[in-house]
């Protein structure tokens, strides 16, 4: 386990939300902007309090039901945050300070993932209720829709992620296979499946081995001719669950896993690799478990930075965890 200085912790206690190592009081103001930040800086973070107003987020804790927080987010090339605030039936565009720049309404509160499209606009995923994908233009108008279920996706509840690559729009199924369902503009295509995560015409895979380590391989996209092993992580100790495998900008790969920690805490291990599998960076984060569901808590951006979205009953916290 690394020293405390290498650790990034936040805890919810007595109504005070600690983010980036300092109390923010849940005011919704960011501790530091995303753009123009110096290299030697504290990690960027944004605390978004519960509410329906600009820069606030829906946090739903029913008396007898599933508690949920914003399910997903993206940080774009300009450092803006596109946040799926589905409880409030909207997508928010926030600047690095948490100021609302724009909001797109959603037709229901049941969307769980989103991804930006290469020519503008976005696609949002409702895997459980309507079981459909909606393509929205830059003004938030629905351009087209697509059923989630079909070949290789027998049940919407088995979809575990939404990805967009140059090949098109992919649905991840059971964290294992990726199914190409549409062109980037939303036109459906004959569905094709690869086992792993599409990456620049190839396929990334992460497998939890019997000894608790994770093997990362890179293979051909169509078919499974022998894949090349990129990395075997972690160097020591065993993990419990692989929670993220993403292709980032600047030729980076994000891999994250959880393992139990002391006193009910969870440890989140984050690795950043290059396309040759060389370790570029590693972080160990301690998490205070919370029952509020976030569907895609980890994302990386075009600049290779890694962000984490968490929430408790008072606020959601979006934090830069790498570099």
């Amino acid at each position: 386990m690394p020293g405390r200085s290498a650790m990034f912790a936040w805890m919810a206690a007595a109504g005070t939300f600690l983010a980036c190592g300092r109390p923010t009081g849940g005011t919704g103001s960011a501790s530091m902007g995303l753009q123009g930040a110096p290299e030697a800086r504290e990690p960027w973070c944004l605390v978004l309090p519960k509410g329906r107003g600009p820069g606030q987020v829906g946090l739903h804790v029913p008396r007898e039901g599933a508690p949920e927080a914003p399910m997903a987010f993206v940080v774009d090339g300009q450092g803006h945050v596109i946040l799926l605030d589905q409880v409030n039936e909207r997508v928010q565009l926030l600047d690095g300070e948490g100021t609302l720049l724009k909001a797109w309404p959603l037709p229901s509160p049941t969307f769980q993932d989103l991804a930006l499209l290469p020519k503008g606009g976005m696609v949002v995923l409702d895997r459980l209720a309507a079981r459909r994908l909606l393509f929205l233009d830059e003004d938030g108008a629905v351009v087209s829709g697509l059923p989630v279920e079909g070949p290789y996706v027998p049940e919407g509840g088995g979809v575990t992620g939404l990805f967009v690559t140059r090949e098109g729009v992919w649905l991840e199924v059971e964290h294992r296979a990726s199914v190409l369902v549409a062109k980037p503009e939303g036109r459906p295509v004959p569905r094709r499946r690869v086992f792993g995560r599409p990456l620049h015409g190839r396929v990334l895979r992460a497998r939890l081995l019997a000894d608790g380590r994770i093997q990362v391989t890179l293979g051909q996209m169509w078919g499974a001719a022998p894949a090349r092993r990129l990395a075997l992580l972690p160097e020591s100790g065993r993990v419990r669950e692989v929670v993220a495998l993403e292709a980032c900008g600047r030729g980076r790969i994000l891999l994250a896993a959880k393992r139990p920690a002391v006193e009910g805490l969870e440890e989140l291990l984050v690795w950043v690799l290059d396309l040759e599998g060389r370790l570029v960076g590693r972080r160990v984060l301690e998490l205070q478990p919370t029952a509020l569901e976030v569907f895609r808590p980890l994302r990386c951006d075009e600049r290779g930075r890694v962000f984490l979205l968490t929430a408790d009953e008072e606020a959601a916290s979006l934090e830069e965890v790498w570099p």
Binding site: P62, G65, A66, E174, L208, R240, E266
Partner: protein, 464 residues
């Protein structure tokens, strides 16, 4: 009736039943079978009922408890689990009951017991209450990693209703197990996790790979044990003798076999989630819950005839028969692509596109061209040979070549065409004098030579 009142009233109404009741013996499969038809029914706060036929699902709007429900069926999370668990006692799924809230499920052990989450098995439940003990949620576990991605049944909330989905739950959730569970009937089930081949991936949607006629290649299928019974080889009982067999029962056209033993897979003892040490899901070592058939056991040879060949397989147990999905690999045996080639190997498979005739050779472009010339100088000591036009030699200083003979230069000839020939010797390139004869150098010396020969013939004729 306001929902909040309905919730309190239904709890009160069942109290007397709860006190003296006992849940019926149930297997894990029976519990999951009871949950399945509930998917799609509406979230109904403070209630618990649905129908087996999927009719009258109802709807919910708003944010509970300030929500509005329409219809006669639906459930909230605790009503849903109580109904599928049949606690405190047996009741028809259509009978609306809501005996417990998440508070009881989390903090009491009435007809259930707290267990270690690592011991979670199908039809157990996971429950949480918030720190203020004012809200909670409970789900029915079906399969997957208890600490990772799991398949669950749950009455999520007003917007979703009752759903079946894969997701993970934080460690805020604790595991509980219903009392009076009875032993399961052995169930064999499998899922295809992955497949692949060392053949060339195909771009066509209905074909996985392509190969050339008669090519050797191999492929593999990876399965996960989704049942509740260990797969073994050469033993008796359900799951005791598992094979991968062809779907047709006949010999596979690619592999030349009709069955492959589990003993020849990567894991000769494939456990299931329910028989595996908790949290120990691993790949394909003995005792793991996955195994790979091939590539060694699935070595294939492509047929000679082009076409698409489908190699289809299914698992089979000696006692229980076939189980799991039919898995298949579509392989296209491609025709050699000769395009406009008439000879030599095709660029796809290396198969011959044809043979050239006598006196011809095959060029790199796959065309038949005349065979290289063999110069025949005969008794000539200089000038071009009459077959290929290759030089038979050069004359010395003060000599000129005349009909293959070197002759002294006459005064008139000294600055004539033969002198020009000497300054432009024949060039033989690449060992093929014939082809070089068509080049620009050949034109340079051939034209003066012809003029010289014509001039000499005219002079001889004039002498005669």
């Amino acid at each position: 009736m306001r929902p909040a009142v309905g919730f309190g009233l239904s709890v009160w109404l069942v109290l007397s039943r709860v006190a003296a009741a006992a849940p019926p013996p149930m297997s894990r499969t029976e519990i999951l079978d009871r949950a399945r038809p509930a998917v799609g029914y509406s979230y109904w706060w403070g209630h618990g009922c649905w129908r087996e036929d999927g009719q009258d699902k109802g709807s919910c709007s708003g944010s509970c408890p300030d929500c509005t429900h329409t219809g006669n069926y639906g459930a909230d999370c605790s009503g849903f689990v109580a109904k599928v668990w049949q606690v405190p006692e047996a009741s028809d799924v259509t009978e609306d009951l809501h005996p417990y809230s998440t508070r009881e499920f989390r903090y009491s052990e009435i007809h259930w017991t707290r267990i270690d989450r690592s011991d979670l098995q199908p039809a157990d439940a996971l429950v949480y209450r918030n720190s203020a003990n004012t809200a909670g949620h409970i789900v029915l576990y079906e399969s997957g990693d208890p600490w990772g991605a799991m398949w669950l049944y749950e009455a999520r909330g007003c917007s979703y209703g009752i759903v079946h989905n894969e997701r993970s739950l934080s460690s805020s959730y604790v595991a509980i197990r219903r009392d009076a569970l009875v032993a399961e009937q052995p169930v064999l089930e499998a899922e295809l996790l992955d497949f692949g081949s060392d053949a060339t991936p195909a771009a066509a949607p209905d074909v996985d790979y392509w190969v050339c006629p008669d090519a050797s290649f191999s492929f593999w299928f990876e399965f996960r044990n989704e049942g509740n019974t260990v797969w073994r080889s050469g033993q008796s009982g359900v799951g005791g003798d598992v094979w991968l067999v062809t779907e047709s029962g006949g010999t596979d056209a690619l592999v030349g076999k009709d069955r492959i033993s589990l003993a020849d897979s990567s894991n000769p003892e494939v456990r299931s989630d329910s028989t595996n040490p908790p949290g120990e899901e691993c790949n394909d070592a003995p005792g793991c819950i996955r195994t790979v058939f091939g590539p060694d056991a699935l070595r294939a040879r492509a047929p000679s005839e082009p076409g698409v060949y489908v190699s289809a397989w299914q698992l089979e147990d000696g006692e229980a028969g076939r189980f799991g999905p039919v898995v298949q690999l579509a392989v296209e045996v491609r025709s050699p692509d000769c395009a406009d080639r008439e000879c030599g190997p095709d660029p796809v498979c290396g198969v011959s596109c044809g043979e050239c005739g006598a006196g011809e050779v095959c060029s790199e472009a796959g065309r038949c061209v005349p065979e290289a010339c063999e110069p025949d100088c005969g008794g000539r000591e200089c000038g071009p040979d009459p077959v290929c036009g290759v030089s038979c030699g050069e004359c010395g200083a003060g000599e000129v070549c005349s009909e293959g003979r070197c002759l002294p230069v006459s005064g008139r000839d000294a600055g004539g065409q033969d002198g020009a020939q000497a300054r432009h010797p024949v060039t033989v390139r690449g060992g093929c004098g014939c082809r070089s004869g068509y080049g620009p150098d050949a034109v340079v010396w051939t034209l003066p030579l012809l003029l010289l020969l014509s001039w000499r013939r005219m002079r001889r004729a004039a002498r005669k």
